[in-house]
Amino acid sequence: MDMTKLKQLDSSRWTTEAGADNVLLYGSRDLLESMDDKVLEQITNVSQLPGRVGPAMTMPDAHWGYGFPIGGVAAFDPAQGGIVSAGGVGYDISCGIRFLRTNLRWKDIEASAWSLSGELFQHIPAGVGEEGEVRLSDDELDEMLRGGARWALDRGFGTAEDLEYVEETGTMPGAKPEFVSDMAKRRQRGQMGTLGSGNHYLEVQMVDRVFDRATADAWEVREGQVCIAIHCGSRGLGHQIGSDYLLSMAKAASRLGITLPDRELACAPIESKEGQEYLGAMAAGVNCALANRQILTHLTREVFARTFPGATIETLYDVSHNTCKREVHVVGGIERTLYIHRKGATRALGPGHPALPVPYRATGQPVVIGGSMGTGSYLLAGTPESEERAFSSASHGAGRSVSRRAALKRWRGRQLVDELREAGIIIRTKSMRGVAEEAPDAYKDVDSVARATEHAGLARRVAVLRPKVCVKG
């Protein structure tokens, strides 16, 4: 990024000539220098959308996205003509991470790692064209879109305890399947309980180091423990909802009196017919993602139960990072109901928030920064400061630093798989191209992102985990 266009506010906050009330970028100098100029262009465009409250912000892992930068956060007030943007949610609606803890220690199961990886690869549908075994009728699909993870639980996937630790307790309210196109529903029929491909994965990880002992104890997270991260979203259905509404909002913009700085920022007033229909469809997409991760959690448990009889797997938290949520925030000392867009950014509620499960009210919400398959992932906790600084938002991943095309030219999938195996990381994949595109060095340094997130007060580090087995799509 061209740093001459930025003004440094302090060691972790930057703005532009537009001022900190309009544009705010979080991160270290190194992280911002490594970002594409498009990030600045995109967040500046976001700041020009109607009804914005507080600055349009980027998290420390930001990179070039669609209209909104990935790692973008912006709040809008319906009472001030605020908008909802399909581009501000993203195509993979409610893409997120289900983070699971086990009662296993890595040193006790390491000898079985290869067979475990094979069982997971066989049992978890992943990759291009892979379909799941869950087939839904039209009515069942609508029920799933209304019920989310709770629907999956009622179908026998997972445990009741899981839902307490899923955002919205597993069901996003306001879902309107009638506003989801037939094509979106058709695309999802064979995709329930599938990982997909690209940057999605199921990873078996080991807790490498604890930074915040008290919080880790409260979350029952200990060094050497085996944990599991499932990263995926709403699959074909979510993308089709995004595509459908992006086009319809782009066409409606001039009629609705909205001047778009970028077509990909297509949006509609929250209170408009178009805005309400999108929000109903988007909530259905969120429920699809929550149901999908609930099914994948169940499939993972089945594998572990066969491989390690007596193993227990509990949901630590399930957090989405492509959403628009209706939330109450205090702005200028006044409580306001706002629509918070988090595009490639995770919610990070601080201690005491009423939306948190009771066991996390003292610690703050678990936040997951997913790293690359060769580096590591972080568990963090939401902070009180994040509410005031970023509407309780934080980084969601390492963020790409090398494009997919460039990665493909620079690395070979087979070689990476072999090198990672030497380093003690087993990769299972059907696509060597996918491995090359997802090469560890194609991502920013996840340690830097986690440190910058903590330094900015957005979330505090609790533990870092190292990948051991990665099932890639």
């Binding site: 089709q240 997919r404 095309r405």
Partner: protein, 142 residues
């Protein structure tokens, strides 16, 4: 699939998180057909048999650039739901009425796997004459 198969008729361009596709042809429709080919070749490589299965796409769209995105998303959705990996494409329009077809082979796991394209986006979207031919381009989400 260790590299991108490009030709004079289709190519790719940079995007941080995803991939841009480019189709070229003597007409806008041909450029859109070649962009569809570029998109599908990101996902798999055909195994070679003559096309045996066909999908059809039809839609109304006045804006040619939006028609391009709608074509890509339509043919992608139809091929995915009908399990067809397409190798030939044809697109026509009469005013705002667009109709297209894609023919190919059954899409099974034996095809060499690339990366899953979830859909076409408005990012980097353009349909324009470049020198003596038409060029259609946009970023696809993977």
């Amino acid at each position: 699939m260790g590299s991108e198969p490009a030709s004079e008729k289709f190519d790719y361009f940079e995007h941080d998180a995803d991939i841009g596709v480019i189709g070229r042809g003597a007409t806008p429709e041909q450029a859109m057909e070649e962009a569809a080919r570029a998109m599908f070749l990101l996902m798999a490589l055909p195994s070679g048999p003559e096309p045996t299965k066909k999908v059809e796409v039809a839609f109304e769209e006045e804006d040619p650039e939006f028609a391009f995105v709608t074509w890509l998303n339509g043919v992608l959705a139809e091929c995915r739901t009908q399990h067809i990996f397409p190798t030939t494409f044809s697109l026509r329009h009469n005013g705002s009425r667009w109709t297209g077809e894609a023919e190919g082979e059954p899409w099974d796991n034996a095809l060499e796997q690339g990366v899953e394209v979830k859909g076409a986006t408005l990012t980097g979207l353009s349909l324009a004459q470049v020198d003596d031919q038409w060029e259609a381009r946009c970023v696809v989400d993977v």
